[in-house]
Amino acid sequence: MSLWLLFKDELNGFYRSKVMLALWVGLPVMALLLYFLVDDIEGIPLTVFTGLLVSSIGGLLTSVLIVVNILNEKEKKVYDLFLIRPIRRENLLLAKFGAVFLCVMVASFIAITLAAILDSANEGYDIGSILTSMKDSLIITVSLMAINCSAGVLIGVFSPSVLVGVLLVLFGSNQLSSLVLIPMISGWGEMWMVGLASIGISALLLFGASLVFRRKEF
């Protein structure tokens, strides 16, 4: 019960936050800008290119958002009033992860759909190709976002300050999330491998964060 309640609460807080507002508007705008400003993207459908860009920039922003949010709440001792109640400590983190992840996924979906519509209208791709591009883009986006969000949670839990947290995001989570794309980029892997790897890495990161959070003294 507590996880669902906390998730709904976090969702309620995040979807109206200023950062999320920037992502809601910013990510679809990014797809539009790409369409108008970039002449040649080496034959890659705009849908896929948008997916890559959105997951990279959106992932970075989301990761920073989670880190700053957790660190602020830790510093202000917001968790005290939750932790004395009969809830599992890790539910606080899982709820935050779930809420942010869902929000950015919806924003990414809007951006990718917009790119797919532009692809369909201007490049003359058939519906089958468009759907395949959308599927690939969404897998990439979901995978990278999941890793970025879970890395943000872990960094937020153990990082001593916002500065250290942001540096760790820049040099850690973003690179880590890119790793899952290597099999696909190098040509020996399949798209499902990217999804599977990201699920594994995200689960591992969240498990680590839960472990640290459970033992943490407030």
Partner: protein, 319 residues
Amino acid sequence: MVGNSGEMVSVRGLYKRYKDLPVLLNLSFDIPKGSIFGYIGPNGSGKTTTIKIMTGLIRDFQGDVTIEGRSIRNWNTELSSTIGYLPQQTSLQEWRTVDQSLHTFGRLSGLQESEVSKRIKEVTEELGITEYRKRKVNKLSGGTLQKVGMAQAMLHRPKLMVLDEPVAGLDPESRVLFKNLFRQLSREGTTIFFSSHILSDIEDVADTIGILGQGRMRYIGSMEELRERVGRSTEVRLETVEPLLNDSVLEIIPGITRVERVADNRFHILLREHGEMDAVVDRLIKAVLAEGLHIRAIHPNRQSLESLYLSYTDQEGSP
């Protein structure tokens, strides 16, 4: 460990250190059910650490704390439902309104959906914050936020309320409101444990007080007992009209342990025990008059409640 049926909280041999800094040293005390226990000590004496151990926020410590006979080392739903906690500074997620915050805390504390709204209405009315219910918590003043903190602590009708400096930062009117609320909750059977570093904050509301100093309980007992101790003076102040040049005239009087000269005609005289006060003062007057001097003033030096508190919490320890 099963506690006495008359005790809500039993603290035994609590020991806690932060790296090389010991904060609590073998701390033991009991809190009777339904009492208002004022926990007082200077800043940094370990009050908040004790509270955080009692509320399960600090888990790495030695010793044990039982609440209604259940050890907090086995923290569970039943235990956490027993406690209402108000931290030193109430911090809530800033994007929430007062209602949203209270709703979440009520639900997490086990209240049913239908009951939460009713309780929120009740406690916000009791605390006089009804008009702020729809306001975001980051738009509230410190005092109002403290009241919201109090509201979340009492929302689920806990048997024990642990309050860390609840009246600090409140205006006089709100202080009275809080103190009246403590009395009312205590009458209804709730045990209240609250800390402060100001004696006057607790003296008119607590029926038991514990004075913490250097990680140890320096005094525990009723406020009346403490006031009685204040009355038990063992020092007399003497002022003569003419100078008394020879201290030994006073020192040889039975019942006197030390004579401290403040001026030629003023003395602080320390007695062996409070019970001998009347007899010693009588001998003192006779001795001074026998020297052919006149007495301007003679009176027992009563310690103030504040100075007694300070003597309990100073570096040397208990008086």
